[in-house]
């Protein structure tokens, strides 16, 4: 049986003009980005020549626009999921039913992701422009979609957790954007700080492991690493500048930051879904109590 929350969300979401409005805006930004790139690359040089190999950068621009839009859209959708139920006074009505808190949270998460998936899939025709010039493969696009959806899952799960914890949707949204800011820019600032003070901390060069650990949660770095791997430019490897003495596992990790980032997203998603389910479970306290009572009675 389909998750009832997901089913209801699908019905109500597709009945409001806001859904289609957001889709139009999303597609318009992607299409304008693509159009602008083509205009600049084809008509702004002196001899009006056109290099089809440059079209690979259209894919990069579109992928970056898509990633940025998803990171902005997912919190806006997911951060109101549980607090919206609370504002409508329908959360209690859900909690007294047979549905477990984890099913309610999963229903909310999946409905948010379904919309993000719709946004991502709807941009496929724009990506098709890059296909026309043969600069990328279908596998690259599917890889990109998987990465974007994993990032959306992570952002969505944290947003749903904030939504469980805070009564006002706006508080959850603002906090989530702060978290995204910390993940994208805070980690870079932290890395810069570590590099600047490397002499005091590490008495010399910053270990590669430290760099990887700091950059691991950064969705931007993961995205850049994936595009880098797809284009075969190996910019990530040069930036991380590992020496010959570096172990093969660390080298592999540095070259596959996007895979590590996907793993990080998966762990965070599972953790925050579990925390969200705990946060809305009204009987959590009494469950803990009954477990304690059972332990005491077993001890006797």
């Amino acid at each position: 049986m389909m998750n009832p929350v997901l089913r209801r969300e699908a019905i109500t979401t597709m009945r409001t003009w806001k859904t289609y409005g957001a889709l139009v805006v999303f597609l318009a930004i992607s299409a304008i980005g693509a159009g602008f790139f083509i205009y600049v690359s084809m008509f702004q040089n002196y001899d009006l020549s056109f290099d089809p190999s440059l079209m690979v950068y259209l894919y990069v621009v579109l992928a970056a626009v898509q990633m940025g839009l998803v990171l902005l859209t997912a919190p806006a959708i997911a951060a109101g999921s549980i607090s919206g139920e609370r504002e409508r006074q329908t959360l209690d009505l859900l909690l007294v039913t047979k549905m477990r808190p984890i099913s309610i949270v999963m229903g909310k998460m999946l409905s948010s992701l379904a919309y993000v998936l719709l946004l991502v899939v709807s941009t496929m025709p724009v990506f098709a422009i890059a296909f026309y010039f043969g600069s990328i493969s279908m596998l690259h696009v599917l890889q990109l979609m998987a990465f974007v959806l994993c990032s959306a899952c992570m952002v969505g799960a944290i947003s749903v957790y904030f939504s469980c914890k805070f009564k006002k949707t706006i508080v959850s949204i603002v906090l989530m954007y702060l978290v995204i800011g910390v993940l994208c820019f805070g980690t870079l600032l932290l890395l810069a700080f570590v590099y600047l003070s490397s002499y005091q901390i590490f008495q010399g060069e910053v270990p590669l492991l430290t760099t990887i650990v700091i950059l691991l949660p950064n969705p931007g770095v993961g995205f850049f690493s994936m595009i880098d791997a797809q284009l075969g430019s190996n910019i990530t490897g040069s930036l991380l500048a590992y020496s010959d003495q570096t172990g093969p596992i660390l080298v592999w990790a540095a070259e596959h930051m996007w895979l590590l980032n996907i793993c990080f997203d998966a762990v965070i998603t599972v953790l925050f879904i579990w925390l969200s389910a705990r946060a809305i479970d009204p009987m959590r306290e009494s469950k803990v109590k009954s477990k304690k009572v059972q332990k005491v009675s077993k001890g006797k």
Binding site: R8, T12, V96, T97, P282, S286
Partner: protein
């Protein structure tokens, strides 16, 4: 049978429910009465599995509702004092959604929804959007929602609040039907005379404690120390008062425009003697009887005049 044993709910130093003990017979319509903050809603939320109790237990058919809320959620229907509805959802879709949350198979839902909408007189609105229904209709729809899984016990937190008189009468009729269907209904309300009409038993709660429990008649009997006897003579009011003043069992006498009331604390035999004396004095009596107690007066007396 539903039994509440030594139920305690504490918020910091504030005791919202203070060692509450209640027994609610199966098939009864049980009223919870109390001023604001008395602990009615807290008790109901604990019963519905929405709030953990600090201590104590609630037994439904000898199963602890606090320890096994998941097992019992299919036996309980809960309607809070607000009606949470979703925008952009039609009445049947709203009911279908809650049928899904109780894992009712798709093929059975149509008939159940039609029957429930008929029960709450909303069949003609089944294709309307929920958010455009009137307050009374939304309240009735919420009642239908709480019945979607055919629960044994219905917990209704102030179902008549904010409704106009007509909608209240309609709600009352539905509750009567539920009683005939054999459901155990626990209901709280501020409209005390209405609650007295609907309920087979009542509990008056104040400061989280049980102040009185039983049928309306029993509670009145327990709490009314003085009985008020009302006599309606055909004219001859002054003569009646004069005769009553001579009788030692008669307490304070109140002369109204059309009748006379007096306080009385003695036995039924003495009361019949009073009637005999009045007739012997040649006073034409139209009616002679005990004045029905006013539930709200009793409520104010029990709760020490707390805000209703």
């Amino acid at each position: 049978m539903l039994e509440i044993r030594n139920l305690v709910k504490q918020y910091g130093r504030f005791l919202a429910v203070d060692h509450l003990n209640l027994q609610i017979p199966k098939g009864s319509v049980y009223g919870f009465v109390g001023p604001n903050g008395a602990g009615k809603t807290t008790t109901m939320r604990i019963m519905a599995g929405l709030l953990p109790a600090t201590s104590g237990c609630i037994l439904l058919d000898n199963m602890d509702m606090i320890q096994q809320p998941r097992l019992l959620c299919s036996k309980i229907g809960y309607m809070p004092d607000f009606f949470g509805v979703y925008d952009n959802l039609k009445v049947t879709e709203y009911m279908d959604f809650y049928a899904g949350t109780y894992e009712i198979p798709y093929r059975e839902r149509g008939e159940i929804i039609d029957n429930l909408l008929e029960l709450v007189d909303l069949s003609h609105k089944k294709n309307d959007y929920v958010d455009v229904l009137s307050r009374g209709m939304k309240q009735r729809l919420c009642l239908a929602r709480s019945l979607i899984h055919d629960p044994e016990l219905l917990i209704l937190d102030e179902p008549a609040s904010g409704l106009d008189p007509r909608a209240r009468v309609e709600m009352k009729e539905i509750l009567k039907q539920l009683q005939t269907m054999g459901k155990t209904v626990v209901i709280s309300s501020h409209i005390l005379p209405e609650l007295a009409e609907m309920c087979t038993e009542l509990a008056i709660i104040n400061h989280g404690k049980l102040a009185a429990q039983g049928t309306v008649h029993d509670i009145m009997k327990q709490l009314q120390q003085k009985r008020i006897i009302r006599i309606k003579p055909l004219g001859a009011v002054e003569q009646t008062v004069a005769v009553l003043r001579e009788l030692p069992a008669v307490g304070e006498i109140y002369e109204n425009i059309q009748d006379i009331e007096f306080e009385f604390t003695d036995t039924e035999e003495v009361l019949s003697d009073i009637l005999k004396k009045l007739i012997e004095a040649g006073i034409p009596i139209i009616s002679f009887g005990e004045k029905e107690g006013n539930l709200e007066e009793i409520f104010m007396q029990v709760t020490g005049g707390a805000e209703i």
